[in-house]
């Protein structure tokens, strides 16, 4: 007899992935019990504004929540504010830090990622911050009002967006990055150069090829200086550690589930235990097309699309054993000083880049892997980004030669291909 999972479904992690699994189950007609377990206070919220509008004070805390807090109750979603300590797979229950046991028929891990700590002595001084949660953003908003000199360790998206928002408070941050350019392997050299000069024009400075080696404080235990690997000492009374994030795989590991830079899941987001799925920042997903390494992404699109897929699976008869593999086009955005970057596809591993557009201020870069279009970065070119999304999703990108031809237009090409 085929039947839907009757529940209970337990979801661990009440970030945007977790909340979308819970609400998605209801949208798809799932009627059983749903529990959403989250350790952070308050209702689920979105992280992107934490480095942008929220940090600048342009929006308030209520505007971070993608759904009103009351909705969960109305949809009979039990929002459990606790930390899940471990999974009892044999007993099919999640054990909470307050000792409660939540029995499950299906379990979804949506535990997200945690910021990597800055491994430098003095990281525990007052004035040294990390930025991932609303609480940390609140602390930083206060600190930005007072700060004199700011050092940012790490030129990833969070470090750069933070530095841009700090300039709205009148600060000129110094960004220390161990590589030779910002944003690592996430973007092309051209786009990295655009953001480097954008920051420099706004007064922020970079130190490339060095790391923050130690932080020095005063008697009161407040940070005063950042010491770099070349011995330079930069004045600093606010330091942001923005050296990347790591997937939170503790529950999976504790339960003996395979981990591979993330909770290892197959192309249908299932772990080795058929009752346990994983979605969002914590999930490392096997490619739909067989071979190749697992992919783990940290983006809103990825969290929401995977959550929706998981909800679809669980709401179906036989828990969606027949559902085709998860396959969605990744896209991402960042905003710095009003300059908008949008990325469709995945830039990592590209072997050829074709620049389209004239300026340094507005352009797209088409990135190829083995001759096939893999990603398009658009800076202040939203229409080209959307055209790129359509082309990449349909697998109909222009060849590098077509793209490099004078007068090439991504929008015209997409229109012709449609």
């Amino acid at each position: 007899m085929t039947q839907r999972a009757k529940g209970p479904v337990v979801i661990v992690g009440a970030g945007i992935a977790g909340q979308q699994v819970a609400l998605g189950l209801r949208e798809k007609g799932f009627d059983g019990a749903v529990a959403l377990v989250g350790e952070e206070p308050g209702a689920p919220y979105e992280r992107p504004p934490l480095t942008k509008a929220y940090l600048r004070g342009d929006i308030g805390p209520g505007e971070l929540e993608p759904r009103p807090a009351e909705l969960y109750g109305r949809e009979r979603i039990d929002l459990v504010r606790a930390r899940a300590e471990r999974i009892d797979r044999a007993g099919r229950a999640v054990v909470l830090d307050d000792g409660r046991r939540l029995p499950y028929d299906r379990l979804v891990l949506a535990t997200g990622a945690r910021n990597r700590p800055l491994r430098a002595p003095g990281s525990d001084l007052e004035g040294v911050f990390s930025l991932r949660t609303r609480r940390e953003a609140d602390a930083l908003r206060e600190a930005l009002e007072e700060a004199g000199s700011i050092v940012v360790a790490g030129a990833g998206f969070i470090g750069l967006e933070f530095a841009a928002s700090a300039s709205a408070y009148g600060h000129k941050a110094t960004i220390v990055e161990s590589r030779a350019r910002p944003l690592g392997r996430a973007v092309s050299a051209h786009t990295a150069a655009h953001f480097t000069s954008l920051h420099e024009r706004h007064g922020a400075g970079f130190v490339f090829g060095e790391e923050v080696r130690a932080l020095h404080g005063d008697r009161a235990g407040r940070v005063r200086e950042a010491e770099l690997t070349d011995g330079t000492r930069l004045p600093a009374d606010l330091v942001l550690a923005a050296v990347g994030a790591a997937p939170d795989t503790r529950l999976a590991e504790g339960a003996g589930l395979p981990v591979d830079d993330g909770v290892a899941v197959d192309a249908r987001l299932g772990t080795r235990d058929p009752r346990v799925l994983a979605v969002g920042d914590c999930a490392a997903v096997a490619p739909a097309s067989g071979g190749g390494p697992r992919v783990r992404l940290e983006s809103v699109q990825n969290a929401l699309d995977q959550a929706e897929y998981a909800a679809e699976r669980l709401a179906r008869p036989d828990a969606g054993e027949d559902l085709p593999p998860y396959e969605r086009l990744p896209w991402f955005w960042s905003d710095q000083y009003g300059s908008s970057l949008q990325i469709a596809g995945l830039a990592a591993g590209h072997d050829r880049a074709v620049l389209v557009g004239d300026g340094d201020e507005a352009f797209s870069v088409l990135l190829y892997r083995n001759g096939a279009l893999a990603a398009v970065e658009s800076v202040n070119r939203p229409a080209e980004h959307m055209a790129a999304r359509h082309l990449l999703a349909a697998g109909r990108g222009p060849s590098p030669e077509q793209a490099a031809a004078p007068g090439f237009s991504l929008r015209a090409f997409a229109r012709a291909a449609a």
């Binding site: 504004p49 509008a53 759904r67 909705l71 229409a383 959307m386 359509h390």
Partner: protein, 107 residues
């Protein structure tokens, strides 16, 4: 607080009070009004907060940025003369009594 009415493609209709300074998108989302997905949380990045504005009132709205204009070319349901991204419409006193219709699909 301006009252804004959201009309769903399948005819349902809701009127809510939207505080001045709050976007038409946020007014819907925080009141549980369906029909607006707002995947990017109001950053004009996803075009899943598309609405059709009452034609009588369209001209009186704050102008759209080039960015919004471009994003509107790529909505899931066809763009019309009165299309806007609701996250880019911050309510002020002039929004009193505004009606917007949500498209059938946002994605």
């Amino acid at each position: 607080m301006p009252k804004i009415t959201y009309v769903a493609a399948d005819a349902g209709e809701r009127t809510v009070d939207v505080p001045v300074g709050t976007s038409v998108m946020r007014g819907a989302v925080s009141n549980g009004v369906p029909g607006i997905v707002a995947q990017c949380g109001g950053n004009a990045q996803c075009a899943t907060c598309h609405v059709y504005v009452d034609p009588e009132r369209y001209g009186g709205l704050p102008p759209m940025s080039e960015h919004e204009d471009a994003m509107l070319d790529t909505t899931a349901c066809p763009r019309r003369e009165t299309s806007r991204l609701s996250c880019q419409l911050k309510a002020d006193a002039d929004f009193e009594g505004l009606t917007v219709t949500t498209p059938e699909r946002q994605r």
